[in-house]
């Protein structure tokens, strides 16, 4: 299983290197996470808008529709994410809207297609990341994610690998992390599933292939529900 996953990531990395890019696309990153046992929403990437209704049929409405382009790392900034999309026809229309928005905001970017996934809300949104820091080596970050992550800075770092005590401390360091325990109006969170994601990233940090080629694996947002977690978006950056 692990070897298989390593082979897959090796292939993804090799393909990206060949295309002279150091960012894996969201579908590529999610394929890797899925292989590592980190759940992602059901869905798939499609090359053209016409195929969107088929995916809606597969995963069921509502869905979220996103642009796929490895240069486009902050998709919401250009309106390249639309949700919730309630019907097959609306999904196809959403693809066309996204294509138009990207063409007008970022004419330099060529779309590789669209990602259509089952829509899963996250409240709040969390961020988890593995980052191979040039000075400190592999580090793990956890905190409040979403688009306000840099404004609120409710995140904490630890040097990888993490022991259970490190993970426990990481999950309770910032005030916002109280939302992980219980909070009014929020569903109870599966804390154990978050611990599991952190453990998997910590294990990954110790693999040679990951340390050698990958600069960052970022899951943002990570949805934490009553019975598990879902990586709603993911980014993998390679060392230049």
């Amino acid at each position: 299983m692990l070897t298989q996953a390593s082979d897959d990531i090796a292939m993804l990395i090799a393909a990206a290197r060949e295309q002279r890019r150091n960012v894996l696309s969201e579908p590529e990153a999610k394929a890797f996470l899925r292989a590592q046992g980190i759940p992602v929403p059901p869905g798939r990437a499609i090359p053209t808008a016409e195929e969107a209704p088929v995916v809606v049929g597969e995963v069921g409405a509502p869905v979220v529709v996103k642009a796929v382009a490895h240069q486009l790392t902050h998709k919401t900034d250009v309106g390249a994410v639309i949700f919730p999309v309630e019907s097959p026809a609306a999904a196809e229309a959403a693809c066309r809207t996204i294509a138009a928005r990207v063409a007008s905001h970022r004419p330099d970017i060529a779309l590789d297609g669209f990602l259509v996934e089952a829509y899963r809300p996250a409240q709040p949104e969390w961020i988890v990341a593995l980052r191979n820091d040039a000075h400190f080596g592999p580090t793990i970050m956890f905190g409040l994610g979403g688009i306000y992550v840099e404004t609120l800075r409710q995140v904490s770092f630890r040097l990888a690998p993490l022991c259970d005590r490190d993970i426990e401390a990481l999950l309770s360091e910032r005030p916002a992390m109280k939302l992980l325990s219980r909070a009014r109006g929020l569903a109870p969170a599966d804390r154990g599933a978050v611990v599991d994601v952190l453990r998997r990233l910590s294990d990954l940090s110790q693999q040679r292939l990951i340390a050698r080629d990958i600069s960052e694996i970022e899951i943002n947002p990570l949805a934490v529900t009553e019975n598990g977690v879902l990586a709603l978006d993911a980014l993998i950056v390679l060392h230049p």
Binding site: A129, R131, D133, T139, V149, E150, S156, F157, L159, E218
Partner: protein
């Protein structure tokens, strides 16, 4: 791992640039080494003098009759590199460059410093500085600094600093103290840190029997992984407090990911320090207070604080600070509450914080303090004690010092004491000199010291 003993605890010292001139750094430094009763031979290196302060002078290092452990270099910047080469040629084992004007000053200085590093690395010479106030080690009588410290005593706190004059300011402050003095026995200032670094220092203090507590002021960690691994081992017996400024420096960088933008060195360091159990002080006051608490007190067994106060307001302030500092308020045992009730009026129920001002009216200051504080110290749920006491008029009593000494010895718990009140404050402070009870100027300072103590030891 290399041994920096020749630098920190040398058996013999030469000073290039030593003179009898008390207005020059080289004169003051040599004078301090002589006055400090350095235990080994001292060799002033001076082209013209035959004797300096009763010690035979030599025109060059090569003419000194032995290979010295440590050479202080106190020369104008342009002569430093040549002096370092002389150290290598003469077989010296370590050198400490006092001279400033290197990487901290200019691009040329940066180049000159890089050449010094290369000489050190190629030869194995242990190099401290440049741009340092020097080094002090009370155990071997080495007062190797151009700062005039009024007195010197050995002690269990060992400093490692990467700064120019800041170390001098802090050490002068510490050494000038007459009461509540921080017991610093060693201070190694490596200035611009051209060679010897914090990891070398951790290896040294790990095996140094005199070191009980470690204070680090550093601007960067050269090899974070090795440093933290060693720190984790050392802190088990010798707690570490670190002061590293630049907490608010904007670490934001353009990045493809949010993580990349968020991952400032400061934020990663902050996480790593928590992970490895190194207390991080916010400023020089915090730093010295935490070290004083660690040097004077036993290790806490938990993080539950019992607060005793004779001011309701100070009790609430203390509560805020304790909780904000990551500590908890202790829940008192029924026996504790019963003992406290005995000195309170019926209408007032004891709680944590325990405010017993009214007991002074009812029972008098001696009995109020004795019964109230004994109950608090004795409670098994109290791991740490924070006392904010007022010492004016009717709260004052002559046996205060004896009472606190007895409580400190009997219960062997960490206690931070804050005293408010003019003349009595000084008397109470004097009565506790040498009692192993740190006294702080403010509730914040006391609460912070306890928090940092827990971070450094648990």
């Amino acid at each position: 791992m290399r041994d920096i003993t020749p630098l920190v605890a040398p058996r013999s010292i030469a000073v290039i640039g030593a003179s009898a001139n008390p207005t020059k750094s080289g004169g003051v430094l040599f004078n301090n080494l002589v006055k400090g009763d350095f235990q080994g031979p001292l060799y002033p290196i001076n082209r013209t003098a035959t004797q300096i302060m009763g010690k035979t002078a030599y025109p060059t290092l090569a003419e000194v009759p032995e290979k010295v452990d440590l050479v202080y270099i106190v020369l104008p910047q342009q002569h430093v590199e040549d002096a370092v080469k002389q150290c290598v040629a003469a077989g010296a084992r370590a050198a400490c460059i006092i001279t400033a004007g290197f990487s901290e000053a200019s691009q040329e200085g940066r180049g000159a410093e890089q050449r010094l590093r290369e000489i050190a690395r190629a030869s194995g010479l242990l190099l401290a500085g440049p741009n340092t106030i020097g080094m002090v080690n009370a155990e071997v009588g080495m007062m190797g600094s151009f700062v005039n410290f009024p007195r010197w005593e050995s002690g269990g706190v060992s400093f490692f600093t990467q700064t120019g004059i800041f170390t001098g300011a802090v050490m002068l402050h510490v050494m000038s103290g007459t009461t509540q003095r921080l017991p610093v026995g060693k201070s190694v200032d490596v200035g611009n840190k051209v060679d010897v670094d914090e990891l070398d220092f951790l290896h040294f203090v790990a095996d140094d029997a005199a070191t009980k507590v470690i204070g680090l002021y550093i601007e960067s960690i050269r090899n974070p992984r090795a440093f933290f691994d060693k720190a984790r081992e050392v802190r088990k017996s010798k707690p570490i407090v670190l002061l590293k400024p630049g907490r608010t420096r904007d670490g934001a960088k353009a990045s493809a990911s949010h993580t990349g933008s968020l991952a400032s060195d400061n934020d990663i360091l902050d996480g790593a320090l928590r992970q490895y159990g190194i207390a991080r002080a916010e400023d020089e006051d915090d730093f010295l207070n935490a070290l004083r608490a660690l040097a004077m007190l036993p290790r806490p067994r938990g993080k539950r604080v019992g607060i005793a106060t004779t001011s309701g307001a100070l009790g609430v302030i203390a509560t805020d600070l304790v909780v904000e500092g990551g500590l908890e308020l202790a829940a008192f045992e029924p026996a504790t509450l019963a003992a406290m009730r005995a000195i309170l009026p019926d209408w007032l129920a004891p709680a944590n914080p325990f405010d017993f001002w009214i007991s002074i009216d009812i029972k008098g200051p001696r009995e109020a303090h004795e019964v109230g504080l004994t109950a608090l110290f004795a409670d098994p749920n109290v791991d740490l004690v924070l006392c904010t006491l007022l010492a004016p008029g009717n709260a004052d009593f002559p046996e205060f010092g004896d009472l606190i000494r007895r409580l400190r010895q009997t219960y062997d718990k960490p206690v931070a004491l804050v005293i408010y009140g003019g003349e009595a404050e000084q008397r109470w402070t004097a009565a506790l000199e040498g009692a192993g009870v740190p006294i702080f100027k403010t509730t914040r300072a006391g609460a912070r010291a306890l928090s940092l103590m827990v971070e450094a030891t648990m």
